[in-house]
Symmetry: C2
Subunit: 272 residues, 2 copies
């Protein structure tokens, strides 16, 4: 098994700076990295782009734009502007994808919030297209609906991408968020060439702490990686595969061991 | 607002015996109760039935049958037998519905487990029909997939009921489990007269402890009860409405206050 499509999503090793994460990729022959904007801001976009280039690393994606819903029109406009800045940052890094976390309802009905998500994405689609960046709508697990995303299934993400109808808008398949869905393989097939990201971690039921940071090491949970990876490959996705294992316990522990284990599990479990 | 359709799901006041829960219903003019089998076993089925009858209470449902998937055929047969016993208990109490919690994959693929759920329900459907009890397939929130149920959406529950194709098999709509779903109102309409239960509690994201027992008091979370209740009524459901607020913190506190609050919120929030 080779790892030419492997990417380290930077929040897998969240406490590390971009410099340190880049060095860790180089040391492990990981050819790609997904960059978070807070980490990029610490060094500046130009310096970040230079850092990746100097080390021969691709950027698989930038995380993240979105969080569109809000009762206030001016606040919604601010979120759209922020997503446009994120598009510029993705373009500067040469990242093909900006991951969108769509945002919670913010006190509104789910239906109203979903309409605001659609409007927000539509407002950014031309900017993304001009910048050569694709917006990846990421469905988040339904347990995150109140804080993170009113878009909770890959089916909804596909519907939303179809509604916006721009070549710059696609979907991200993160196994942690969608593995439970009886229709996930059908929706992966439906997504086809609109898939702009594939993210790996494993599911164990959160038992305390922050539900957004309780993802399990690949292989320590119950997700069927082989079936999902085959479905994504059959859908023609040939881009980078991110290991994105947000885990607040790991962040307090030895991250070199955590990352070594993740790479090993990727090589053992994920088909080439 | 009247409360002639209000039912107390017994696990809302889980530490209480059946006797005490029945007395609490009588004291509050709650005309119906959903009985859990462990609580019924403490007094015996005949005595439990007599207790309800003597106090003029209906049984809205018995909780629960199911947990069908297992790698072992003999264990699967045992689960089916246990569900048949639960059907008998529901019949003895005059409960129209036996709630099914379908069960987790138990180390198998989700697809295999779902097939075993379908086989398990099919094996019990005639027994239920003869007993005058309807089996209510309850979709559980996707965060419970690894421990409780491979059936995670109302759409899947509807598909499963259609697959089994028995007049004795329907679905239970529990707002906590399904409110997040963009298709929930469509699936409620599709369920129509196969809806055999409607359960209320509210959603706040679990932040520790047992995710099965972190339901919020009606009105303390983000669920749109009015829309969901209207959809269920439009689907022609006219049966009892259960308050089922499983909360491990409440179970350690004053349950009379908890129940008083639940009844008050029901009267304030849920349309008649």
């Amino acid at each position: 098994v080779e790892q030419r499509r492997l990417s380290l999503n930077q929040y897998t090793v969240r406490p590390w700076s971009l410099e340190r994460a880049v060095a860790a990729c180089v040391a492990r022959d990981i050819p790609s990295i997904a960059v978070w904007r807070d980490k990029l801001a610490e060094v500046g976009t130009a310096r970040g782009a230079q850092l990746l280039r100097a080390n021969g690393l691709r950027a698989s994606s930038v995380c993240r734009g979105g969080f569109f819903p809000d009762p206030s029109a001016s606040e919604r406009a601010r979120r759209i502007d922020d997503t446009r800045r994120a598009i510029d940052e993705a373009a500067a890094l040469g990242a093909p994808t900006l991951v969108l976390v769509c945002g919670p309802a913010a006190g509104q009905s789910l239906a109203d919030a979903r309409a605001q998500v659609a409007a927000g994405i539509a407002a950014c689609a031309d900017d993304a297209h001009r910048a050569g960046v694709r917006l990846g709508i990421e469905a988040l697990h339904p347990m995150m609906i109140a804080e993170r995303s009113v878009i909770a299934t890959l089916g909804e993400a596909n519907d939303l991408a179809a509604l916006v109808g721009s070549p710059a808008v696609g979907v991200v398949v993160d196994v942690y968020h969608v593995f439970w869905d009886a229709h996930v393989e059908v929706e992966i097939a439906r997504a086809g060439s609109t898939i702009v990201g594939f993210h790996l971690s494993d599911w164990r039921t959160p038992n305390g702490g922050d539900v957004t940071a309780k993802r399990a090491m690949i292989g320590d949970g119950c997700i069927d990686f082989v079936s999902l990876a085959r479905a994504v490959t059959a859908a023609t996705y040939a881009g980078d595969v991110e290991i994105e294992i947000l885990n607040e316990d790991a962040w307090k522990d030895d991250l070199d061991v955590w990352l070594d284990t993740a790479v090993q599990r990727y090589r053992e479990i994920v088909p080439g």
